[in-house]
Symmetry: C2
Amino acid sequence: MTELASHRNRQIRLAARPVGLPTDRDWQATTEPVAEPDAGGVLVQTLLLSLDPAMRGWMNEGKSYIPPVGIGAVMRAGGIGRVVASKNPAFAVGDLVSGMLDVQDYALVPESRLKAAALFRIDTRLGTPAQWLNVLGMPGMTAYFGLLDIGQPKPGETVVVSGAAGAVGQTVGQLAKIKGCRVVGIAGGAAKCDWVVRDLGFDACIDYKSGPVKDGLKAECPKGIDVYFDNVGGEILDAALARLAPKARIVICGAISQYNATEGVKGPANYLSLLVNRARMEGMVVFDYAARFPQAVAELAGCLRDGRLKSREDIVRGGVEQFPSALLKLFRGENMGKLVLEVAAA
Amino acid sequence: MTELASHRNRQIRLAARPVGLPTDRDWQATTEPVAEPDAGGVLVQTLLLSLDPAMRGWMNEGKSYIPPVGIGAVMRAGGIGRVVASKNPAFAVGDLVSGMLDVQDYALVPESRLKAAALFRIDTRLGTPAQWLNVLGMPGMTAYFGLLDIGQPKPGETVVVSGAAGAVGQTVGQLAKIKGCRVVGIAGGAAKCDWVVRDLGFDACIDYKSGPVKDGLKAECPKGIDVYFDNVGGEILDAALARLAPKARIVICGAISQYNATEGVKGPANYLSLLVNRARMEGMVVFDYAARFPQAVAELAGCLRDGRLKSREDIVRGGVEQFPSALLKLFRGENMGKLVLEVAAA
């Protein structure tokens, strides 16, 4: 244990609230010594960090479903780590855990913060550590509850999902296929579209970079859209609104196209389609479903095991210093599958 | 009966699809002789016509919940009339009826169109003919099903309704009071606000002409908005979105501020408040609830009788020629209560 004091904890802190895309000036790298946990606490070495569109919102001031990251604070991030010191009987040295580890090499979690950090041991028989940040983690939970609880797809219905090749989108589409729906993805570029159709079994995927999404939706959704799962907002949301079937359900999960907008969010001009089609648009926050995560994890792990569900992670290597540039990959749509930063080799 | 042939049927027809507010050039007045009904049909003399924001949408080309009015066709309108000739045993001369009579002195309804015209006898023991266009008619049905089925207000919740002094708004607010809610209206001008608070019992009313609606909502909805019933769209919808309580329900009933927009509808820029607040925005079309109208009419008539519900109609006199100018009154917000055109004295 005395060895720990010789390790240094590199951290990425929020230095300023970004305007538009985060730049180098919005971050500050710091290094601290690694400290021993107090009674009831644990020390976790970060192995993998999750990169999420929602992070952009956490960097803004103002009311949201979660408080903003403070200026000068270590950037908030979920991740997978290994317990390297424990004064809590629920965690043993060597355990692999998931939780809010933040963008740093070592997360010191006192007993009082165990719950807020949502620290729990992961079972690698159910999935790899990276899969625990993807289909068995928040993106998978978001897909599962957003699609099934809010979207309520019925067999034979048409489900459209934007950000189809992203962490949430890949699982939304596959779950909708398992439910017997026609599934149409929307993604940027032929490679992503090919992947979700050929590997994941989507019925079609519209490349928003190659032509108007509304034309693609017209061709691929002849009976209209029954469930639209929106990860992107902006013009794609408007195109989907224009193609709703009666009694359609729109799940508002995210709006990555708008998170870096400097001139205000673009509201969906076609929202009156909700009226004409007696349709519904509803927001969801995955943390509300925490009590049901174990059930969802068990079901999704079963689907992974029997091959009905595939998962893809896009792993960036290089340590916490790579966090600022990796985050930009996400907003530029350069990731295929769940974007993960490898901080240390497992 | 031979006397009928001496009557002339003045009609207002749609001459062109308006751009922005309808102008005189969009209308054409015609006169036809009055004809006898064929077997199974009825002839109805128009007494009152309903003036509705939805009429503006009917004048546009394109897909909606109801086909557009054809160019050259008599303008569609609901109304109250008296049967003056009948070859159908369900209707007797002298009966007062409600239905789609259109903007004309006489509606000849053949048997094949009785259902499409939704013709039915009204019971004036339940309400006056004008009330049958208001709280016992489509506005009342819209308020009843929109608020109760879509909005689902619970006692103690805060309900906000825009267009509060309009046909739908006045009943939405009163029904929400009956359900035990805190009710805040939004209307234009002190006279309307005073009326809904003093006469109708709203807890408060925000005058959107006297200051920012968001400030008013902040002051009057300290716990946030649980149900927002939207008749207006535009900036007021955005202000309400910014003030939602968790799990709020927004009923999209109309968007009168946008119906005459010439530069496209303004989408609600604050729609991501749905996500943050796990809230829902849902459209409704009153005709979907037709099977339940009798139950709603009975309940609303009971409330009228025992004084828990008041109704106000703003009656324009002068015959069908007044229809174009009366319609503009609606879009200028010059009506207080349900706007009705008196075509002939009852």
